[in-house]
């Protein structure tokens, strides 16, 4: 059990616990906080794999902007504890074992696959430089399109959220 494997398991357990907490918390703010925990754990996993730029961007954009947006909306809409409405009994009795079976099958298939290549730790080249070179050479068209996409999203959000005058 090397240090890397130990850190992986700790971060993986934190991520899964965060996801479970997202499901089982009744107040949306607590679900949002659990999701932030999942994102920070995933950022730790990216750091473990040597993708430090992606880890930093994940925390800055996802954890520092998108989740802040979620929390603002929850605060503004004064969201409260979820009401208990009746859940279908069939979903509980048949659904959960089936879901666990499906998940186990999927996990087993993935674990047995021939893609058991040993990841070799750090990326060979400087992470940020390589990503930015690719972003401006091979991926320049999607890059410019995303700027257009963000513009459209801003306009859409503005139009949707304005009050009728």
């Amino acid at each position: 059990m090397t240090a890397q494997l130990a850190i992986f398991f700790i971060l993986a357990v934190i991520a899964v616990l965060g996801a479970l907490s997202l499901i089982f918390q009744r107040h949306p703010i607590h679900s949002a906080l659990s999701l932030i925990v999942v994102m920070v754990a995933l950022a730790g996993l990216y750091l473990l794999m040597g993708a430090d730029f992606v880890a930093a961007v994940q925390i800055i954009v996802y954890g520092g902007a998108i989740m802040v947006l979620f929390i603002f909306v929850i605060m503004l809409l004064n969201a409260g504890i979820e009401e208990r409405t009746d859940v279908s009994k069939l979903a509980g009795i048949a659904g959960i074992p089936l879901a666990v079976a499906l998940l186990g099958f999927l996990a087993a298939a993935v674990a047995r696959s021939s893609e058991s290549a040993q990841g070799s730790g750090q990326m060979a080249l400087a992470s940020t430089k390589e990503i930015s070179t690719m972003l401006f050479r091979e991926f320049v068209y999607p890059f410019e399109l995303t700027s257009f996409l963000i513009l459209v999203a801003i306009l859409g959000a503005l139009v949707l959220a304005q009050r009728d005058n």
Binding site: L45, F53, V73
Partner: protein
């Protein structure tokens, strides 16, 4: 070194938990957050493969996924605000005007 499979299994588990949250939660914001969880699981798979193949394409694509998730969150939360104002509730089961 951590084998790539471990990352993929974790990604599958997180994706599955995201789907479970999407199906079982009734608060519309929680449903939206489960979508973000699914996107994060996919990001993890991308970075795991990028590390296994020693190419940066996976990481570049993760950046695009994050940007698209941001745009989607902005517009989606706008729609949620409108729906909440219209139906005075954040329960998806209350959005049932088209139900027979």
């Amino acid at each position: 070194m951590v084998p790539t499979n471990y990352y993929l299994v974790l990604s599958a588990i997180l994706f599955g938990l995201g789907v479970v949250a999407f199906v079982f939660k009734r608060n519309i914001i929680a449903i939206f957050m489960s979508i973000e969880l699914m996107l994060n699981a996919v990001n993890l798979a991308f970075v795991a493969f990028s590390q296994a193949k020693h190419q940066s394409d996976g990481q570049v694509f993760v950046l695009f996924v994050i940007v698209v998730a941001a745009a989607e969150a902005a517009v989606g939360l706008g729609i949620i605000i409108l729906t909440a104002r219209n139906r005075q509730s954040l329960n998806v089961e209350k959005v049932n005007l088209l139900k027979l």
